[in-house]
């Protein structure tokens, strides 16, 4: 053992020792000869001869060392390479199949790696949880916590070391000549202690910074620091300015710290508990578990504390619950199942590629059976032959791996270009060491998997039989034939599963994006404005701005109409609890409704039909409270009568907010998102309390072309107004459906590749089968068989395999498409359309693959075929 290691690390020393040993022998021998009376020269010559030559002995000693094994391996490689190069068609096909399989798998793995495996840059991440309160009755009401509840929970918890709350959003920071919208967050000190990341410079927020009216401070990211302050430590103490406030910089976070999302700037959350209530939910929360505390224990404690808070505040007890989920799970919840189903899909693709290569190797092995037999007969051991075949598989695997990694490397940017939104900075999909190791691992597995069957079947056979069959290379035992057919059936079955999966996803995606939104989303532009509170301190100033902007924008050429609203369609998140007059409900039974504040002309701009009553006018501003409701809201609450004239009140009962009278009913529309079935909504006219800041512009043509003119117009009215989120409604729709689109596109690509591979395999099998049967066919034709009977002979085999593959695939698909359940929209995993399409596509592709082999079979020339024998 020690010698082996010694040789590995210092081959020279070992050689020197060997030289000394042999030299000693030579000297002794020569000495003996000299004692017998020979002269020195003769004695050494004779001694060298007796020894068999110094160098030869040296070489023989080296030969039997284990390094030599490597040399044998290298000759195996050379041989394998020569063979593979001699059959370029086979090699290219095999490498392409492996490359596509490995590339697709690696690509999806790098997605999974970036989402699920790559560590988030926070220490002891397993102890960081996301906390949210949720309604027991309304599945849409979740994801945030109430400020007062947070204060109480933080004071009482014994299992959490801290809780932090935050609000994510863009902050308009004044630059040298214009405002810049910086992703940031308004947070409490707890966010930093929960994530346990120390600042690079200065300090993070502390308790005092988050008290109401405390001096305003800011923490900036390392990237922001570099970009705006050139990495100068004197940035500490300088000010980050917005239109309304200036924040003294107290700390710089280390590079790569961007929580939440892509945050570059953290400002203190200064909420005055005196002005907070227990029914508003608008803060995100994270918490850190104390060492040794499980997520389940934290959950139990949080829930019992919240129930305690409910008991102490019976008036505001709305029966809500609270839960803690590991941060990683919370962040990846939307993706993990989709990524898992993609992993399954590419695993199938990889299996198909593997079966394909295995099939090719098998066919090739039976063509080489006589070569193997000859080699075995002249003394090659079975192990040696297997090593040779294994080396070939490994070389194919290595080439496939290289191609696959290249594909994954090139494919990742293409993949990311399908994502229309800015991903949070922690998502990183680059090809890293783990991805490379994964690719290597699966390449090894695939190569061995593909090579195993041919290795076993072609080296274990009966030699004499193989030799007797001669060089015709047609030996196919029954077992081999079954093996080859099984591989093809597996390919067809897996393709069938992928086809069904892709069909279901594509169908669901089409439904999702083609559903009726209720309004005309063509040629609509939405843009958000930010104006400083300083310049527009009260409602009337803000109203004047909105009116001026609306009028001037509407006057631009190409603009049909303009209106403003609180949040653009598909992105409305503001919901409120409400009471119908005469039907009071206890707090815990009150429902939420989407609540949108709009300016007159909103429905006209959206082209959302007004079904009953009238639209708002400027006269409704701060006038007796009026309300327009959606059709489904009206139908739900006043099913047998007109909603007009009925009254609704918002907020918790004890607030005694004013009643709003319904003056109109509009058609239903998708406001909350594409996947939300809920279409109930209420619309309120803008007032001195709420000034909407998102404008909706209906254009006569491509609305994006209006964007520069609109910007110029807005900043022309007031330079301090910044414009952000300029998006067409179609873009908003795309952003709302990007995940479905992303996964449908991937699934379709993978299915396409799988289908091509399976078709190639099927084609190869049929061609080979026709090749083997050509003499039988020739005899039949010679004996007068009709073409149709030859046709039947060839096709029946193919069709039988397709049939078995389809049936097996259907069984598998029934089980596996359930995985997709969570990602599909309004389509069942048993969607008949997808299933029918899958079967049709499989049959058409199989039919195409059969075309050429069948043609070859019919064209068999009996004279030529029979002479071959």
């Amino acid at each position: 053992m020690i010698r082996w290691i010694q040789r590995l690390f210092s081959p020279r020393a070992v050689d020197r020792q060997l030289g000394a040993e042999l030299r000693f022998h030579l000297d002794q021998q020569a000495g003996d000869f000299m004692a017998q009376g020979m002269n020195r020269e003769e004695a050494y010559r004779r001694a060298a001869i007796a020894m068999g030559g110094l160098e030869q002995v040296r070489q023989r000693c080296r030969d039997r060392r284990w390094e030599n094994y490597l040399e044998g391996l290298s000759s195996d490689f050379q041989l394998a390479l020569r063979r593979l190069l001699k059959e370029p068609r086979f090699s290219i096909l095999a490498v392409a199949a492996l490359g596509l399989g490995i590339g697709s798998t690696t690509l999806v793995f790098s997605l999974a790696n970036g989402l699920l495996l790559r560590p988030l840059p926070y220490p002891h991440l397993d102890r960081v949880v996301a906390v949210d309160e949720y309604s027991p009755t309304d599945v849409n009401e979740k994801g945030t916590v109430n400020f007062l509840n947070y204060v109480d929970l933080r004071a009482r918890t014994r299992l959490l070391s801290d809780i932090g709350i935050y609000d994510e959003g863009n902050i308009d920071v004044l630059g040298r000549d214009s405002a810049e919208s910086i992703p940031g967050a308004i947070t409490t000190q707890g966010v930093f202690s929960v994530l346990a990341v120390a600042p690079l410079l200065g300090r993070t927020l502390n308790h005092d910074d988050c008290l109401p009216n405390a001096p305003l401070v800011a923490v900036i990211s390392q990237e922001f620091w570099q970009q705006h302050y050139g990495g100068d430590p004197s940035a500490l103490g300088q000010y980050v300015e917005t239109e309304d406030h200036r924040f003294r910089i107290i700390g710089v976070m280390p590079a790569g710290f961007h929580f939440p999302g892509r945050a570059e700037l953290w400002l203190p959350l200064q909420t005055d508990p005196a002005h907070a209530n227990r029914t508003d939910y608008n803060r995100n929360a994270i918490a850190r578990l104390k060492p040794g505390v499980s997520v389940a224990a934290a959950n139990a404690e949080l829930e019992s504390l919240l129930q305690e808070i409910h008991r102490e505040n019976p008036v505001s007890n709305n029966n809500w619950h609270i839960r803690a989920v590991s941060l990683r799970r919370a962040l990846t919840a939307d993706y993990s199942r989709a990524v898992m189903s993609l992993l399954v899909a590419v695993a199938f693709l990889l299996l198909i590629a593997c079966a394909n290569v295995s099939y090719l190797l098998l066919v090739r092995a039976s063509a080489r059976a006589s070569e193997m037999a000859v080699r075995a007969a002249i003394g090659a051991s079975r192990r040696r032959l297997m090593r040779q075949l294994g080396t070939e598989s490994l070389m194919l695997g290595a080439a496939g791996c290289a191609l696959g990694v290249l594909l994954a490397y090139l494919g990742t940017p293409a993949l990311l270009s399908l994502i229309p939104i800015e991903l949070p900075s922690w998502m990183n999909f680059s090809v890293d060491v783990r991805v490379l190791f994964f690719a290597l691992g699966i390449a090894l597995l695939t190569a061995l998997g593909a090579g195993l069957a041919p290795m076993l079947s072609s080296t274990g056979g009966d030699l004499t039989l193989a030799l007797r069959e001669g060089g015709r290379g047609q030996s196919s035992s029954r077992g081999q034939k079954t093996l080859r057919r099984t591989l093809i059936v597996v390919e067809l079955a897996l393709s069938m599963v992928l086809l069904v999966g892709a069909g279901v996803m594509v169908h669901s995606f089409r439904d999702l994006i083609s559903q009726n939104l209720g309004y005309n989303s063509q040629n609509l532009l939405s843009l958000h404005i930010n104006y400083p509170d300083r310049s527009y301190p009260d409602g009337s100033k803000a109203r004047a701005l909105v009116v001026e902007l609306t009028e001037k924008m509407a006057a631009l050429p190409g603009v049909i109409s303009v209106a403003a609203m609180t949040e653009p369609p598909l992105e409305s998140s503001w919901t409120r609890i409400f009471t119908i007059e005469g039907r009071p409900l206890p707090l815990k039974d009150m429902k939420f409704v989407t609540h949108i504040v709009i300016t007159p002309g909103y429905f006209r701009t959206l082209q959302l039909p007004l079904l009953q009553g009238r639209d708002f006018s400027e006269a409704d501003y701060d006038a007796p409270n009026v309300l327009i409701v959606s059709q489904s809201f009206a139908a739900r609450h006043w099913p047998h009568e007109s909603a007009i004239g009925k009254r609704v009140r918002f907020g918790p009962p004890w607030n005694q907010e004013p009643w709003h009278t319904v003056i109109g009913v509009v058609a239903d529309s998708k406001m909350r998102g594409l996947q939300q079935a809920e279409t109930a909504a209420v619309y309120l006219p803008y007032s001195s309390e709420v000034t909407p800041a998102t404008f909706l512009v209906r254009a006569s043509a491509d609305p994006l072309q209006l964007a520069p003119a609109l910007r110029t117009l807005i900043t022309g009215i007031d330079r301090s107004i910044s414009v952000s989120r300029v998006l067409t409604l179609e873009q908003i729709r795309e952003r709302a459906s990007w995940r479905q689109r992303f996964f449908s596109v991937l699934m379709t690509c993978f299915t396409g590749i799988a289908l091509i591979l399976a078709a190639v395999g099927f084609y190869a099998m049929l061609s080979y089968s026709v090749f083997l049967q050509r003499q039988e066919i020739a005899v039949r034709i010679a004996l007068g068989a009709s073409y149709s009977s030859v046709l039947r002979l060839v096709m029946s085999e193919g069709l039988r395999l397709v049939g078995i593959g389809r049936a097996a695939g259907a069984v598998l698909a029934t089980g596996l498409t359930r995985l997709l359940q969570s990602q599909i929209f309004e389509v069942s995993p048993m969607d008949p359309l997808a299933w029918i399409a899958a079967v049709l596509v499989l049959i058409v592709v199989a039919g195409l693959a059969m075309f050429d082999p069948v043609r070859k079979a019919i064209r068999v020339d009996p004279v030529v075929a029979l002479r071959e024998q």
């Binding site: 000394a20 040993e21 000693f24 022998h25 000297d27 007796a50 068999g52 039997r64 060392r65």
Partner: protein
């Protein structure tokens, strides 16, 4: 050199183990002893001796160390290990069985 037969396959290892078992020796001495013991019947090319020695060492049947000879030169001395002793016993047993069987066959056919 003369056309004497090489050692039968498999016997060289056994002879080396036997000789080294008598006491630590270097390669040259081993070759001399083999020639002497076999009465010069078999030809031993040192070309096969050294690879064999190294193989036996790798297998842990022999251990080697560099020591001074009587004449004061450094030489590589081999000695039998415990594992080597067991191997030798096993090989001798096999050899006996083989020769007994062959002898028996030769006698019966005569």
């Amino acid at each position: 050199m003369t056309d004497r037969p090489e050692f039968p396959k498999g016997t060289l290892d056994m002879l080396i183990l036997k000789i080294v078992g008598l006491g630590p020796t270097h390669g040259y001495a081993i070759s001399q002893r083999i020639q002497q013991i076999s009465n010069d019947v078999f030809q031993l090319t040192q070309g096969s001796l050294y690879p064999a020695l190294h193989r036996l060492e790798d297998q842990g049947w022999l251990a080697a160390e560099w020591k001074e000879t009587d004449t004061g030169r450094e030489a590589k001395y081999y000695k039998l290990t415990r594992k080597g002793q067991r191997q030798f016993d096993a090989e001798v047993l096999t050899w006996k069985r083989l020769t007994d069987a062959v002898t028996l066959i030769l006698q019966t056919t005569e």
